[in-house]
């Protein structure tokens, strides 16, 4: 099982994420192809990475999906994503001095 902390570590390693809030929402989706059926959990993720600067949301999400490629469709069934560059993080209410 993919823990929120493991997910956070992956984002820190592969995307240089300085902040990653991960919430396991699998319990809200029980019974429709979630972890119980063996196709992974549902996660809500807010991630701050310097790699996102100057990129569109589409490009950012692709970066996250690429970083988690081995988990997508395996231990991750669904991912709700919010992506911020370090400059955007404070306006989104994210503590910018946090380290993942």
């Amino acid at each position: 099982m993919l823990t929120p902390n493991r997910l956070r570590q992956l984002l820190a390693e592969k995307l240089q994420a300085t902040y990653a809030y991960v919430e396991d929402e699998s319990h809200r989706h029980a019974g429709h192809g979630g972890r119980q059926q063996g196709s992974g959990g549902h996660y809500r993720v807010q991630v701050v990475s310097p790699l996102f600067a100057g990129k569109t949301a589409l490009q950012r999400h692709r970066l996250v999906y690429a970083a988690l490629a081995e988990e997508m469709g395996q231990s991750i069934h669904a991912l709700a994503l919010q992506t911020y560059s370090p400059e955007e993080a404070p306006a989104a209410g994210i503590p910018h001095d946090w380290i993942a």
């Binding site: 989706h29 429709h32 589409l58 999400h61 692709r62 999906y65 997508m72 709700a80």
Partner: protein
């Protein structure tokens, strides 16, 4: 690393690479079918279930946003077509459903649609698509 290791590595790497490549190759007929779908609809959503009965919270959220715009859109239920369900992920190079296309361009999934809607960027995009002649609704 000595010479032997390089040779062995190369022998094993080649068949693995080609297998991997075959596994992710999109069937040309399916690719053409998808290309045709995204080209002939101004606003198109690949979703789980139907707008009337979405089978996933993300698909539900996406169609509610499209509904709120007041423009017609076409929904394709990938749960009715397992090949399309896999094929659209490869076509868009995007691992999740729903997927939204506007004017033939891939926009993203539910989160991006919500972001764009919150920034008032979605409606202008859809309006521009319908202002253009050429494709069908």
């Amino acid at each position: 690393m000595d010479e032997n290791e390089i040779t062995i590595g190369a022998e094993f790497a080649c068949p693995l690479l080609s297998l991997n490549w075959l596994a992710t190759m999109l069937d040309p007929l399916l690719e053409e079918k998808i290309r045709n779908q995204v080209r002939t609809h101004k606003v198109l959503i690949y979703m789980k279930g139907t707008p009337e009965m979405p089978q996933c919270g993300f698909s539900y959220a996406a169609v509610r946003i499209l509904d709120s715009l007041g423009f017609p859109y076409t929904a394709i239920n990938v749960l009715e077509d397992p090949e399309l369900r896999q094929g659209i992920k490869e076509f868009s190079n995007w691992p999740t459903i729903p997927q939204i296309y506007i004017d033939g361009e891939f926009v993203g999934g539910c989160d991006i649609l919500q972001e764009m809607h919150a920034r008032n960027e979605l409606r202008p995009l859809v309006e521009a698509a319908f202002a253009k002649a050429g494709t069908q609704s």
